[in-house]
Symmetry: C2
Subunit: 694 residues, 2 copies
């Protein structure tokens, strides 16, 4: 495979500039590793002090290296970096890794140095990783360019690595790598990205999405610098059917404080990260062990699984515990259809359970034919996606053979949990059945994995939608739109508004009220007055012309007193409208992910309960409907306690029209909000709207 | 120690009735274990078929056993059990374990058999464990009465067991025991309680609270049969300063379905279980591995720790991750005071962090004096309770000595996490510093352990409150109280009501309105009409006598049409009162835990968001204040977005008065609810109240 990063990540030859003969120093450790593990490419240590290091011939300078190295690793100080890169470039080197700290993370002069580095890379076209990074390792090629002591302290790899690590912290990379190796998971790439001055996080992901030696990626992120490119990379993972498992630091204020100090990176809006990860079918990692387990599970992703789980145990209590845990983790444990229950009841005694969780009872293991028929029934039914079997030690051993037979015949994903010392573990794993040894670990890894399996379809659907709506931005002047103009603009895209008309004087207001029909509402109309009620600019429930004329006068007086500088366009006369519920819907432009839609129930409690749903744009009506369904307050739209049902379809249509408007207007409309969107038994109308231009 | 259960749990001699020579059979396995592990008491197998089994002399019947055994274990069928118990009792045996299934868990005849068993136990005074149980093991005494194969399949115990297991499932008991042994944690008692016909779960807890060989208990509960006794037992654990760590099955509907089928036990109201556990400082277990870790941590409970955590790492990224995780688990990671930060800054370079999380940076390990001064500063400051150190492998090894020195000088709890292969693990552990080897496991166990440490004071405070208010129940007729009478009754206990007066006719209503002051509210007054608005029985904002008289007529007509059978006492005339917020407060009688108070924000969304707080009674004002503070909607009481602040103290006083009323009235007042309790800027008043008699 050929990619801009190939010379960096699968180098055919390596120069080590600032080579050392001391394996404890950064200029020596990678050479020691290359020699120890037997890298097959050419290695060119560069340092005038040595003739040879670690058995490699050492050269006094890059110019005297006998052939052009594909990659140069710079173990030299920050101040000398750009000069040396220029010499490497002149020598034909295509890629470099810069270990040195003292760049943007230090501020001041360091920032200037980093800018110089970025300019050089842009002009030369050289691929420069780091600075302030620990380097890489391609474990399959045995190409070690990292000064990390962890490689010699962990068990040697058996078999090819299929999982890659990409982190924004060298320490995290080492810690997760060590854990994966302790668990016996072979690793493909070990990548830590440092300051990402010239090669940004997402570019590594692009490489790994294409890399035939990478089945899945475990990542650690403090800050994304290019959200658009990240979205593309995540979609490439979806396309390639590879799980992307990312830990996002800065989940709480304290964590993000630490991240800020660490890399001067601003942690993004966590709620939006969560929403984007889910939308892109990225697994959000919870801890290192869980991520390692997910890397291992990724090897079983071609089996047919999903989030509807059947649980098989030999104990009712353990069935109850597993059901609690899986449901708590967001999976479904559906009651089995009667035909499957009947089949199970054929061999399961009365004191066992057949509905799901299934308690086959302990004696069952003496009857391998019936065990096989249980697994067959669960492999064939459409009512579940994944089958989880808890059986300990010898009990699992006695079920292994029929289980493997069924697995060979059916694509369904079977998972086992053995908290004893079953002998069949390797055999099961080789036969396509992962074995967990701890209930908590099983739930923590399986739940997101099953969600990933189920989520593959919807991320591909979204990728198609995104391709369709790319481009086509309108050019409009968006400055100073008042409420009426904003709703009229949104109306062009299909957002319905309540019956309303602007009125510049009392006569016009009275006429408008008559046309609209009493009772009406009068609201001050001014792009300069954001808080209309506070300005005394709202009068509700006006019943006749006299009230309208009085209200007009009072509103104008009050608004002028409130803000004498404001441009006041008169009032907006609206029908007095009642609905079943009021929603808030708005599009904002996130600095990382771009345009994002937020939907919630209107009112003060929404803010306190944070009962909102987010999506990156574009969205279609089905996606908005999904968002509304995610709200805890959704029952209020759905006939809660005898209330009328709200027209959810109309609300979804109005909100998806709002997002179309936002996409068409582009970032020039920095924020657009409809609040409230009144949802009625029939239809939904914008009562108020606001557009903040860039 | 002497306790009713002593002959059961620390038997001096054991008869095995239905003995078998086959170690795979239930009558043989315990004998095999007793022999294998070297139990020192007398063992009397009983079975006419054998002369000896496992080297023990076997007797044809219980009558021919040469001395009175303290405990008889019955490995015989259900139908023979009561007869055999009578013979054992006649022989002087004080305690028995019944393995047999076929009792209440089977229903029908089994239920009758169990009732017979219960009668026998009550009349004879014999202590009968089970039926439908797996038996016990006192591992320190090597007294095995359980037919569980797990004992021979796990590593032998080194040193005395200090942690005891009590479960309502034999399979769970075995699974957790196996896990604890794999982790090297020695166990004291292995207890599974079966149907608890004559010895209920809490009685085992009472024994273990007193048992000098038990430091902590790991339990598994499907159903509590005696909540009052359970509360007493939990308080005995608090008194003895022993952690009680319980897994409650049936957390979700599916889990509880499985539990129901398993032991015909109804899973309790989970929200109340959670609240009761927290109030009693019981640690709610999340999974088996976590519970095993907690048992191990319990050995460190005498160190001074709590929920304000300082985090020390050699990496900013790992500090961020740990801060996220600990805060996410409910612990505090407070910013350190400046004097501590200054002390740290003496040796930590600028690119490190001193505020908390603390990044001491990697080089620090070369300076043991400074490492010692960091730990000393953190051991001495009042700003934190617990210090967590993450350092991997050799890095931790190099910090171990100064750490142990500081630990020897200061009582503060230090915890380490080593994801490498540090050599100092045992040394640290022996010196009072637990070492975790996985971040996720560390957080999962540490967070509840630190909460337990911090929670010890408040559970003792509650125990004192509970002792003070025991007894003193009033005898009252509570049937048919209307809204006014209910509020008057509550008023006697100090619950203030809105200004109001009952009125039997329009004249009286007009007079009352005049006294109270306009505007007023009229509400139909009838103990028979629960839904007043639905009955057309409420008129708001009445401004004068004419409106009051009209409203009276309309309300009476409407209510009579709505329910012609209802006894209607006239109307209630109330001041039209406005507050800052409306609360709901109610006391219900839970079948397990008894009287429990629920507090929440009033209105339909509270139900959807389940934003409520529960406590077992009694409560005092400080506890109610705590409950209000737990509500997510609390900011609405506290000046949210420029609103006025509500009189929270008055609300707490009113709600604690409500609980006093409930305690005084006893279970005869099955439910008492004030809804809404209107909280004003000054004061709080009950607007409506309801009392449901038993």
């Amino acid at each position: 495979m050929s990619h801009r990063l190939s010379p960096l990540l699968q180098p055919g030859s390596i120069a080590m500039i600032g080579a050392s003969s001391n394996p404890a120093r950064i200029g020596g450790m990678p050479l020691d590793l290359l020699r120890h593990f037997g890298y097959e490419g050419q290695v060119y240590p560069v340092n005038p002090k040595y003739e040879t290091v670690f058995g490699y011939t050492c050269y006094p300078d890059i110019e005297s290296v006998p052939a052009t190295p594909e990659l140069a690793v710079l173990a030299i100080g920050a101040a000398e970096v750009v000069g040396m890169l220029q010499r490497c470039h002149a020598r034909g080197v295509r890629a470099a890794i810069v270990y040195a700290a003292g760049f943007a993370e230090m501020g001041g002069e360091g920032t200037a140095l980093q800018e110089e580095l970025e300019r050089f890379a842009a002009e030369s076209g050289m691929v420069v990783a780091g600075p302030n990074c620990m380097g890489f390792a391609n474990l399959n090629l045995k190409a070690f360019t990292a000064f990390a002591s962890v490689f010699r302290n962990v068990p040697a790899q058996n078999g090819p690595g299929r999982a890659s690590l990409v982190t924004q912290s060298g320490n995290v990379c080492s810690a997760v790598f060590a854990l994966m190796r302790q668990l016996g998971i072979p690793v493909s790439h070990f990548i830590n990205t440092g300051n990402e001055a010239c090669v940004e996080y997402s570019e590594y992901l692009e490489f790994l999405a294409q890399d035939p030696q990478t089945d899945c990626v475990i990542g650690y992120i403090e800050q994304l610098r290019d959200g658009g490119r990240f979205i593309d990379a995540a979609l490439a993972f979806a396309e390639a059917d590879k799980p992307l498992i990312l830990y996002k630091a800065g989940e709480t204020e304290k964590g993000s404080e630490a991240v800020r100090s660490h890399t001067s990176a601003l942690a993004g809006n966590l709620a939006l990260y969560k929403a984007a990860f889910r939308q892109l079918n990225i697994i959000q990692g919870q801890d290192f062990a869980q991520m390692a387990d997910l890397a291992w599970l990724s090897g079983f992703r071609h089996r047919a699984g999903g989030k509807r789980v059947a649980i098989v145990t030999l104990s009712g209590a353990l069935g109850a515990i597993l059901a609690d845990k899986f449901i708590g983790a967001g999976l479904d444990v559906p009651t089995l259809p009667m035909n499957v229950q009947d089949a199970l009841r054929n061999g399961i005694p009365d004191y066992g359970m057949v509905s799901n969780p299934i308690d086959v009872t302990g004696n069952i293991v003496n009857n391998p034919d019936f065990v096989r028929s249980v697994f067959s029934a669960l492999a064939s039914t459409d009512a579940v996606d994944t089958v989880v079997i808890y059986a300990s030690g010898s009990l699992l051993d006695r079920m292994a053979e029929p289980l493997l037979e069924v697995c060979a015949q059916h694509p369904r994903l079977f998972i086992t949990i053995d908290t004893g010392q079953a002998k069949c573990r390797e055999q099961l794993s080789a036969g396509g059945v992962p074995v967990f040894t701890d209930i908590g670990r099983a739930v923590q890894a399986l739940a997101p994995f099953c969600h990933w399996l189920t989520g593959r379809e919807s991320v591909r659907r979204w990728a198609r939608l995104r391709r369709q709506v790319q481009g086509g931005r309108e050019e409009r002047s968006l400055a100073g739109l008042n409420e009426f103009e904003t709703k009229r603009l949104l109306g062009e895209f299909g957002v319905p508004a309540v019956a309303e008309a602007p009125a510049g004087d009392a006569d016009a207001a009275a006429l408008a009220a008559q046309r609209i029909g009493y009772p009406v509402v009068l609201k001050v109309l001014s792009a300069d007055i954001a808080h209309k009620t506070e300005a005394g600019g709202v009068r509700l429930n006006l019943a006749d012309e006299v009230q309208v004329r009085t209200a007009f006068r009072e509103i104008m007086d009050s608004a002028r007193r409130y803000d004498p500088q404001a441009r006041i366009d008169g009032v907006l006369v609206q029908a007095m409208s009642r609905g079943v519920a009021e929603l808030i819907a708005g599009v904002t432009h996130d600095p990382v992910f771009g345009a994002a839609l937020t939907v919630g129930l209107g009112g003060v409690l929404t803010e306190l309960y944070r009962d909102v749903s987010h999506r990156l744009l574009p969205v279609d009506e089905a996606m908005v409907d999904e968002m509304l369904n995610e709200l805890k307050a959704y029952p209020l739209l759905d006939g809660f306690r005898g209330r009328p049902k709200a027209d959810v379809a109309a609300a979804s249509a109005a909100i998806s029209a709002l997002s179309r408007a936002s996409l068409a207007l582009g970032a020039a409309a920095q924020e657009i909000e409809v609040n409230p969107l009144q949802v009625k038994e029939n239809g939904a109308v914008a009562i108020d709207a606001l557009l903040l231009p860039l």
